[in-house]
Symmetry: C2
Subunit: 199 residues, 2 copies
Amino acid sequence: MAEAEQVLIPTRERLLRSARELIEEGGYGAASVVAIADRAGVAAGTLYRHFPSKQELFVEVFRAVCAREERAMRAAAEQMSSNPAPDRLEMVLATFARRALRNPRLAWALIAEPVDPLVDAERLAYRERYAQVIAQDLRAGIGAGELPEQNVELTAAALVGGCGEALVGPLSPVSSKRPSDAEVMDALRTFVRRAVGAA
Amino acid sequence: MAEAEQVLIPTRERLLRSARELIEEGGYGAASVVAIADRAGVAAGTLYRHFPSKQELFVEVFRAVCAREERAMRAAAEQMSSNPAPDRLEMVLATFARRALRNPRLAWALIAEPVDPLVDAERLAYRERYAQVIAQDLRAGIGAGELPEQNVELTAAALVGGCGEALVGPLSPVSSKRPSDAEVMDALRTFVRRAVGAA
DNA sequence: TTGCCATGTGAATCCGGATTCACTACCGTA
DNA sequence: TACGGTAGTGAATCCGGATTCACATGGCAA
């Protein structure tokens, strides 16, 4: 599978990119060392010139992708900064959902697919960060009297988790009679608004 | 680890039980063929006298446990059959959560931990069934005017998924500063009531 | 020119399980 | 007592992937 070799891009980057692409296409299972190296146009051994182990490579991929997601969510919140909290929350979670639906396999890998302890730890850390983005707006909403008092951390976790898992179904490899993306998004918006106690 | 051998119980059953126990304690990873056989007080080869493969054994364990969960949820709904739908829904999901919190490792295995295609297929099937239990009460509630119109299937999925993932955090192996079970249950009850649009 | 370092190679090796199989032990029946 | 079938044994084998390592190659500085 010798690709049109992107010699412009340094090997290390190419390896990271190959790994991400393979995960996007077929989950962690599809991203074997040989496959990754192959796609990057190098030999398997080369991977070990740039990363101490496959795990570490995965961690780096994972971090980069999660950071991108977090940025997208924060940006969404930013854009709505002058709108009421419920609208902001709806937007933030809709952003999360939209992106997941656009890249289902990757989303599944980020949200649920276990890999190894190193990556799993990273996952937990990022879940926490997503929840914090939500929690922030929840607090603001409560402060402004736009939302009722509630356990902010748990609601935030339930929302991230909730939307995540709600997506995992529609996302999952073999689901057949899946509803359209628009329907999913719509139902999730309603769900979020209600769950936070918006009018 | 030759246990006090329960020769009263047939080997096949003992194997199923060992597997379940090992999964409860350490997830699928801890349930190797040798470990399972060991705990059942037989040799590895014996497992293959009773099951065509490890996968098939897992599927059987998984089915049994999921069926038990489903029964618990249905029973909870049954008991509340004369109460309003929102109360029933709260009860059903609280049952789900309570049981998960009581047996975190197993819950994690059922809800999220990937194993192999056979078992994963089973998981999807059961998620669907849990969602149907919810959907049933949602429909009843809408019919009785106790709940607003909504996309029943998606809300049900979001709730099962939502509670599931919300639990996964608190459940997960290494989470430290986890809130008390009571707090989690409480926040989830509120969450559920709001999410379905109850007054 | 020579030596050294960084990078790349890919076949050989290692490793952790699942799976097999030739053999034993026991039980009920002819 | 012999026979066949069922259950059990556990060391040997197989298998898929990560990891290693002895051997290039090319650039750069002494």
